[in-house]
Amino acid sequence: MGASFSEKLLAALNAFFEGVVRFLPGLLAALLILAIGTVIGWLVKVAVRRTLAVARFDHFCDSSGVSQVLNKADIRATPSSLMGSLFFWLVFASFLMAGLSALEVEVIKRLISEFFLYLPRILAALAILLVGFLLANFVSRAALLASVNANMPSPRLISGVVKFLIAILAFAMALEQLEIAKSIVIAAFIISFGAVMLGLAIAFGLGGRDVAKKVLERQIKDLDQPKERDGFSHI
């Protein structure tokens, strides 16, 4: 009985130590991969920051309104630093996955392969959000300028509606790309878009009937009269 217990204990310890010995190289390899990933990530970060500095990326972000949004969100880092950090974490995450796969654990391996399959969708969604944000800023500013210069009522409201619609569209497209509740996202987008339009129609038609009348009267008057109201030539 005593021999049997000690044998079993030894066997269990042996199995544990064998497991540790089998696992240890994988763990060391994972740690090494992680260390290499950290160094490469850091190098990529520096390279990205320097390249973006040469390409005047911060200047572009200033002119496109990205910097202003970052400031509003109390993010003090420059856009090129942020991009450098983003690339660092992307490289680091990739090496982390590679390191974890070196551990030869079946569940982790499956999760990693799913992560790498999903990664392009995440990047595509981020790109859609970025382009959508830039487009929303650009078009809403163009709408604001055109409305002011054409002496239209409520230029900021027009600009805000344009920005909101483009942002909603970009957000829905990004979620659709991530395959998150696809049908719900499309339905939500259609409902939101329809609600905005219906809301505007009701607000304009009922709440602002007099304003609507004035605007339409002015538009019709504009059609009857030359656009250049003043009797002189500006140029």
Binding site: L144, L145, N151, D230, G231, S233, H234, I235
Partner: protein, 420 residues
């Protein structure tokens, strides 16, 4: 290079005609209604003022879909007696040709320059195809200073209503005068005279795929002539009346095009204009006279309204363009009544210089930047109308001269902002 600029039948036609002394070009696009009058005036001008010279009339057309080209081919001046002129010795050669390149007046004139070079023309002129007030005398006034006096570039000087040409009066004239040191009153007049050698010089520049080819050719020709050291003068042409412009063309777009042309030239001639410290008058030809100041409709309230809307809704944009001091002074203007509204000349110059600096160091899309100038320009125009309500033409010129002096005295501010 010039061969490629001349479409297929053109070189042969030029060979048939041989060298010419004088060339007049008419850029056109769908001007059938008015171009006949312009062609007759040019024929009469050739007969009356240059009867012994070999002359060529060139229509550089942008693919008109009306009868513009046919009108140019068939219009003739049969009764020379009415203008007290004899038939020209050599006859008037005429060529109608499409131009190549980006659609725009600049591309049309590039073809005129290429023909002038190929035909060895000594003196040239270009006139708009929509002119209703052109007379044979215009040819004498645009070409004689070049052909007989040795000048290289003749800018037009029109007599206009005191409120006409406000973009020229409040931005283009004072700014180009301050930058380049020559007091050319109508730098974007549209009708010019120039020598054959200046035409060849124009062709040497690589600007024909830029906005110069589309809409900035007038100011580019004037500034290139000045900055390249050619002899520049002006000729008084009298009133300029042209066909009614397309009412759909909006002011903001027009202002953006004109101002971007000037600001682009500031970038390409930076070293030159920074070294100019004083301005000089240029010789003037022609007999000056005044025109009537009939009452015209001016909606000051609407202009001030757009300015106020800009101050309210575009403040976030203006804050990124104007200095804090300029921005604050502009915002302080919004409280005044329409009738007493004033936009001080000094503040206006500060605004223009801030916009020039912002264009040079863009903090946003350049088109947006310049479009945000429209409410400020309308504010300044409303102020000008209020200021000169009872002024005659001479007094209005004094006000414009005062504005030019402000531009000149504040040039160090421009340099500081430009370099900042």
């Amino acid at each position: 290079m010039d061969e490629a600029l001349l479409p297929a039948p053109l070189p042969e036609r030029l060979s048939e005609i041989g060298p010419v002394d004088i060339l007049v070009g008419i850029p056109s696009f769908n001007n059938a209604r008015t171009i006949g009058h312009v062609v007759r005036a040019i024929q009469a001008g050739f007969a009356k003022y240059f009867p012994n010279e070999r002359t060529l009339l060139l229509n550089s057309d942008g693919g008109s879909t009306d009868d513009t080209q046919e009108v140019v081919r068939t219009t003739t001046l049969s009764d020379y007696g009415t203008i007290l002129a004899a038939h020209p010795v050599h006859g008037v050669h005429r060529i109608v040709t499409p131009y190549h390149g980006i659609p725009g007046k600049g591309s049309a004139l590039r073809t005129v320059f290429a023909v002038a070079k190929a035909a060895g023309a000594k003196a040239c002129a270009v006139v708009d195809a929509d002119l209703r007030s052109i007379t044979p005398e215009w040819l004498d006034l645009l070409i004689s200073p070049v052909f007989r006096q040795g000048f290289d570039f003749v800018a037009p000087l029109y007599r206009r209503h005191k409120y006409d040409g406000t973009i020229t009066n409040s931005i283009v004239y004072p700014l180009t005068r301050t930058l380049f040191g020559k007091r050319v009153r109508q730098p974007i007049g549209g009708d010019f005279g120039f020598s054959g050698r200046l035409a060849s010089h124009f062709l040497e520049h690589d600007v024909w795929h830029s906005d110069v080819a589309r809409f900035g050719i007038d100011i580019w020709m004037t500034s290139t002539a000045i900055t390249s050291g050619y002899q520049v003068c002006q000729s008084f042409l009298g009133a300029k009346i042209h066909d009614v412009k397309d009412p759909g063309v909006d002011l903001s777009k027009m202002l953006t095009q004109v101002v971007s042309s000037v600001f682009s030239l500031m970038e390409s001639h930076e070293q030159l204009w920074k070294g100019v410290s004083e301005t000089q008058t240029v010789p003037l030809f022609g007999f000056e006279h005044t025109v009537g100041l009939e009452a015209i409709r001016v909606d000051v309230g609407r202009m001030v309204g757009i300015f106020r809307s800009g101050a309210r809704d575009l403040s976030a944009i203006w804050e990124r363009i104007l200095t804090p001091e300029t921005f604050s002074l502009v915002q302080n203007l919004t409280g005044t009544d329409d009738g007493r509204f004033r936009f001080p000349a000094r503040l206006w110059v500060q605004v223009v210089y801030d916009f020039a600096a912002a264009y040079h160091h863009p903090t946003m899309n350049r088109d947006h930047l310049l479009r945000s100038l429209t409410p400020l320009y309308l504010g300044r125009t409303a102020s000008f109308v209020n200021e000169t309500a009872d002024a005659d033409a001479g007094q209005v010129e004094d006000v414009i001269e005062g504005l030019c002096r402000e531009y000149e005295s504040m040039k160090p501010y421009l340099v500081e902002r430009w370099d900042g």
